[in-house]
C-alpha cells in the first residue's frame, strides 16, 4: 500500500516536469500560487475580523463559526467529487483490485488521495482564516502551534461525510447510472448557486454588520461539529486551554465517528460488487416480483404506457438527452426571469396578467424542452426502430407514446413555471393562478405533439448528437409552429377568462352568498376546457400528420 502511495506521490510531484521524481515547473508554480493566495486570504480575513470586532464586539466567534460551516460545505463538495472520481471513475481502480491488496488497503489508498486533495484547499482557504482570526483576537503563540491539529481535525468532518455519502451511493446506485446522478446533483447545486447569486445582492444591499452577525449565529447551530470546533478555536485564541481541548476534541470525535462508519461500510461495498454494482448477482424480492415466487396479479400491459415509460427512462438516464433539455430550459429561464428576480421586488413595474403568465410558462415548458425531448423523440429510436415497427401496435400509438412520454417530463415544468411566474412576476390572485396553472399544463400535450410532428417529418436516425436529429429548417419550422400554437391558445385563454369574469358576475347574483366561492372557479374551469380542447385538437392533427410522415421514411 505504501508503495502505491509513494508511486502516486511521485506522479503528483512530476506533474508537468520532465525529470524523474523531480518537482516540475508546473508543481512549483502551483505551490507559489497557493502560497500567494493563502497570504491574500489571511490579510483579507484579518481585516474583516478586525472590522467585525470593532463594529459588533463579540460577534467574531459567530462569524468564524459560520465561515467554518461554509468552508466545510466547500470541502464536502470537493471531497465528494474527488471520492466519486476515486471510487466510480478511477482508471486505476481495476488495476488496484487485481493486485494483492485487501479491500481496506484499496480504500485506504483512495482515502489518502481524498485527504491529499483536501489538504490543498484547506491550506489555501481554511488555515489563513483561522490564523487571521487568532491574529485579530490577539491569540497567544501556542494558538498558532495548535492550528495544524485543528487542520487535521477539520478534515475529518467533510472527508468522513463525503466518503460515507459515496459509499452509500455505491450501495444504492449502479455504476452505469452514477454519472447521471452526479450530473443531476451538479445541476441542482448549480441552480442553487445561481439562485443565491441572483437573489443575494438584493438581500445584502440593505444588510448591516449586525444583520451579518445575526445571520452568522443562525448558521452556527450548537449541534454542528463546526460550531464546536469554532468554540475550541475561540477558546484557544482567548488562551483557555480547557475550552480549546473540549471544542477541538468534540469535533475530532464526531469526525472520527464518520470516518469509522465509512470504514465499516467498506467490506459491504466490496461484497456487493465494487464500483457500485450492488444489484448484480441478486434479484430484488418484492411483492409481485418474480424473484418472490409469487406472480403479481393484475393488469395486461399497454403499449402506450410501456413505450411512454421507455421514453422517460431513456431521457432521464441519458445525460446527453436531458442536459439538452436542461440547457434550453435554463437559457429561457435566465432570459425571461432572472432580471426580474434579481430586481428583488418581483418586477412591480411589469405586473404580468394571467395570459402573459400562461404564455411565458408554456413557452418555457414547450420551447425549453420541446426541441430536445419532442423534436428528437422519433430519431431517438435510432437503429432500434425495428422493434416498434414490427410490434403489434399502430404507428399512431407509437408516436402517441412519444407525446405521452414528453408530456410526463415537461408537464411538471409547465406547472412549476406557471406557479413561479404567476407568483413572482404576476402576483396573481389564487383563482387566476389556478386558471393559468391548469391552462399551462393542458397546453403541454399540444406543444409536445407539434414537436413530435416536426421530428417525424425527416428524422436523422443515425445522428449521435441529439441536437442533429432534425435538419435546421425543421428546427425553424418547429419554433414558428409553437409560436403560432401558443399565440392562438393565449388568445383563446384571454377570451375564456373574459367570459369567466362575465359569468362569475352572473353566478354571484344567482347564487347569492355561495357565488363568492363558486364565481372565481369559473375561470379555471373555462381556461382549462378551452386550452385543453385546443391542445387535444392539435395533438390529434399532429399525430395524424406524423403517422403519415412515417410512410416517407423508406
Amino acid at each position: 500500500m505504501t508503495a502505491v502511495l509513494r508511486a502516486k506521490w511521485r506522479m503528483l510531484l512530476s506533474l508537468g516536469g520532465k525529470g524523474r521524481g523531480l518537482p516540475g515547473s508546473a508543481s512549483i508554480g502551483l505551490a507559489l500560487f497557493g502560497l500567494a493566495l493563502g497570504v491574500l486570504v489571511f490579510f483579507l480575513a484579518n481585516g474583516f475580523f478586525v472590522i467585525v470586532d470593532r463594529v459588533a464586539p463579540g460577534s467574531a466567534g459567530g462569524v468564524l463559526s459560520a465561515m467554518l460551516v461554509l468552508l466545510a460545505l466547500v470541502l464536502l463538495a470537493s471531497a465528494a467529487t474527488v471520492a466519486y472520481n476515486g471510487f466510480y471513475a478511477s482508471s486505476d481502480l481495476t488495476l488496484l483490485l487485481s493486485w494483492p491488496l485487501s479491500p481496506r488497503q484499496v480504500f485506504g489508498i483512495k482515502l489518502v488521495e481524498v485527504l491529499a486533495a483536501e489538504a490543498g484547499t484547506f491550506l489555501v482557504l481554511g488555515l489563513p482564516v483561522l490564523a487571521a482570526y487568532g491574529a485579530a483576537a490577539g491569540a497567544p503563540l501556542w494558538f498558532f502551534a495548535v492550528l495544524p491539529l485543528v487542520a487535521v481535525v477539520f478534515h475529518f468532518l467533510p472527508t468522513g461525510l463525503a466518503l460515507l455519502l459515496n459509499l452509500l451511493a455505491m450501495r444504492l446506485i449502479p455504476a452505469h447510472r452514477a454519472r447521471e446522478v452526479g450530473l443531476a446533483l451538479g445541476a441542482i447545486l448549480g441552480a442553487v448557486v445561481y439562485g443565491a447569486v441572483q437573489l443575494a445582492p438584493a438581500a445584502m444591499g440593505t444588510a448591516s454588520v449586525a444583520d451579518l452577525g445575526l445571520a452568522s449565529s443562525r448558521l452556527a447551530s450548537p449541534y454542528l461539529p463546526t460550531t464546536w470546533l469554532a468554540d475550541g478555536v475561540a477558546g484557544a485564541a482567548g488562551g483557555h486551554l480547557g475550552a480549546a481541548a473540549a471544542g477541538i476534541g468534540a469535533s475530532a470525535l464526531a469526525g472520527g465517528l464518520l470516518l469509522a462508519a465509512a470504514l465499516a461500510l467498506v467490506p459491504a461495498v466490496f461484497a456487493s460488487g465494487w464500483i457500485g454494482e450492488p444489484r448484480r448477482g441478486r434479484t430484488r424480492a418484492r411483492a409481485g416480483h418474480p424473484a418472490s415466487g409469487r406472480p403479481a396479479r393484475g393488469r395486461n400491459g399497454h403499449p402506450i404506457a410501456g413505450l411512454a415509460r421507455k421514453e422517460v427512462l431513456t431521457v432521464v438516464r441519458d445525460a446527453a438527452e436531458w442536459s439538452q433539455a436542461l440547457y434550453g430550459l435554463v437559457f429561457l429561464a435566465v432570459l425571461v426571469l432572472s432580471n426580474r428576480l434579481a430586481a428583488g421586488d418581483g418586477g412591480s413595474a411589469f405586473r404580468f396578467g394571467p395570459v402573459m403568465v400562461y404564455f411565458l410558462a408554456s413557452f418555457l415548458a414547450v420551447m425549453g424542452v420541446g426541441p430536445a425531448l419532442g423534436v428528437g423523440a422519433v430519431a431517438r429510436e435510432g437503429k432500434a426502430r425495428w422493434f416498434p415497427l414490427s410490434a403489434p401496435l399502430t404507428r399512431r400509438e407509437w408516436l402517441g407514446a412519444k407525446v405521452a412520454g414528453g408530456v410526463f417530463l415537461s408537464g411538471p415544468l409547465a406547472a412549476i413555471g406557471a406557479l413561479t411566474v404567476g407568483l413572482a412576476v404576476g402576483h396573481l390572485p389564487w383563482h387566476e393562478l389556478i386558471a393559468v396553472l391548469a391552462a399551462s399544463v393542458a397546453a403541454v400535450p399540444g406543444g409536445m405533439a407539434i414537436s413530435v410532428y416536426v421530428g417525424a417529418q425527416n428524422p436523422v436516425f443515425d445522428a449521435p448528437d441529439p441536437r442533429r436529429r432534425v435538419t435546421t429548417p425543421a428546427g425553424m419550422s418547429h419554433f414558428l409552429l409553437q409560436a403560432l400554437y401558443l399565440g392562438a391558445t393565449s388568445l383563446l385563454l384571454s377570451l375564456a377568462l373574459a367570459a369567466a369574469r362575465w359569468a362569475a358576475g352572473g353566478f354571484g347574483a344567482w347564487l347569492g352568498g355561495a357565488g363568492a366561492w363558486v364565481g372565481p372557479l369559473v375561470g379555471p374551469v373555462e381556461a382549462t376546457a378551452v386550452v385543453g380542447v385546443a391542445s387535444w385538437l392539435v395533438t390529434r392533427g399532429c399525430l395524424s400528420g406524423a403517422t403519415a410522415a412515417t410512410d416517407r421514411w423508406e
Binding site: R279, R280, R297, G301, T314, R317, S390, P392, L393
Partner: protein, 253 residues
C-alpha cells in the same frame, strides 16, 4: 402459417425483391438463403411490417399484414439481423416493455421473463443497461424478446451470428422445439451447415428473385448435386468463383 404472394419492393427503378411467392407451414423450419444483397433482409422486413411492399401480400397466421397489421404482428416474433436495442433500458426492463407492447398479462409475463433470462444465461446481467451488453448478449436478449409472447411464427434474420457455440446450440434447440410444438420458423442464414442441419425446406434468393425452393432432397435431385453448398453455388452462379480462385492456386469447391 406464413404465406407470401407476389411480394415486390422497388426503390425507384431498383427492384430489391421481385415477385416472391412462399409458403411456410405449421411445424416447419424454412431456411432462406442468398448471397449478400440478394434481397433477404428486405424480404424479411416486408414480412414483419417494417417496410411496406410495393406489390404483393403477406399473411401471418391467417391475418393479412396490410389490412390487419396489429393482429398479424401479434402472432409473430422477429429477430433482426442487427440486434439494436434500447441502450438506456436494462435487459429486464426491455423484456418488460416487450410484454407491455404485446399486451401480455404482466404478472405471468414477469415469470416468463425470469425463465427466459435464465434459459439464455442472462439473469446476472438482467439489471444492467443494454448499452453495456456484448453483441452476443444483445442477440440473446432479442431472441428472448421474440419468444416472450409465445408467438405462432418466428421470423429470424441470421439468428446464430455473434452467438458463442453454447448459445448457438441453445438457439438451434429452441427453434427445433418451437417447430415441434407446431410453430413456423422463417430463418435467413449465411451458414449453410445450419440450414442443412435444421431446415426442412430452403429457398434460395438471387438477384431479387426466388431462384430455388424445396426440401433438400428435391433440390439435390433437381441440381444433381450432393451438398447444399454445391446447390447454392450452382443456383447463385458461385461456381464462377472457381476460375478466380484458380488464379491464386486455390481449388474452388
Amino acid at each position: 402459417m406464413i404465406r407470401v404472394r407476389g411480394l415486390r419492393k422497388c426503390y425507384g427503378s431498383l427492384v430489391a425483391v421481385d415477385r416472391l411467392d412462399l409458403h411456410v407451414r405449421e411445424g416447419e423450419l424454412f431456411g432462406f438463403l442468398g448471397p449478400n444483397g440478394a434481397g433477404k433482409t428486405t424480404t424479411i422486413r416486408m414480412m414483419v411490417g417494417i417496410l411496406r411492399p410495393t406489390e404483393g401480400t403477406v399473411t401471418i397466421a391467417g391475418h393479412d399484414l396490410a389490412s390487419e397489421p396489429v393482429a398479424a404482428k401479434a402472432c409473430l416474433g422477429y429477430l433482426p439481423d442487427e440486434p439494436a436495442l434500447y441502450d438506456k433500458l436494462t435487459g429486464r426492463e426491455f423484456l418488460r416493455l416487450v410484454a407491455e407492447v404485446y399486451r401480455l398479462p404482466l404478472g405471468p409475463a414477469d415469470v416468463r421473463i425470469t425463465e427466459l433470462l435464465e434459459v439464455f444465461d442472462l439473469s446476472e446481467q438482467a439489471g444492467d443497461l443494454l448499452g453495456s451488453y456484448s453483441h452476443g448478449m444483445r442477440q440473446k436478449t432479442a431472441l428472448a424478446a421474440a419468444l416472450l409472447h409465445d408467438p405462432k411464427v418466428l421470423i429470424l434474420d441470421e439468428p446464430t451470428v455473434g452467438l458463442d457455440p453454447k448459445s448457438a446450440r441453445l438457439a438451434k434447440d429452441i427453434l427445433r422445439e418451437f417447430c415441434r410444438r407446431g410453430g413456423a420458423v422463417f430463418m435467413s442464414t449465411h451458414i449453410l451447415e445450419v440450414a442443412q442441419a435444421m431446415c426442412g425446406r430452403v429457398g434460395i434468393i438471387d438477384h431479387s428473385r426466388l431462384a430455388a425452393v424445396g426440401t433438400l432432397d428435391e433440390l439435390r435431385n433437381a441440381a444433381g448435386r450432393a451438398s447444399l453448398e454445391e446447390i447454392f453455388l450452382r443456383v447463385t452462379g458461385g461456381e464462377e468463383s472457381a476460375d478466380a480462385a484458380r488464379v491464386f492456386g486455390v481449388e474452388a469447391p
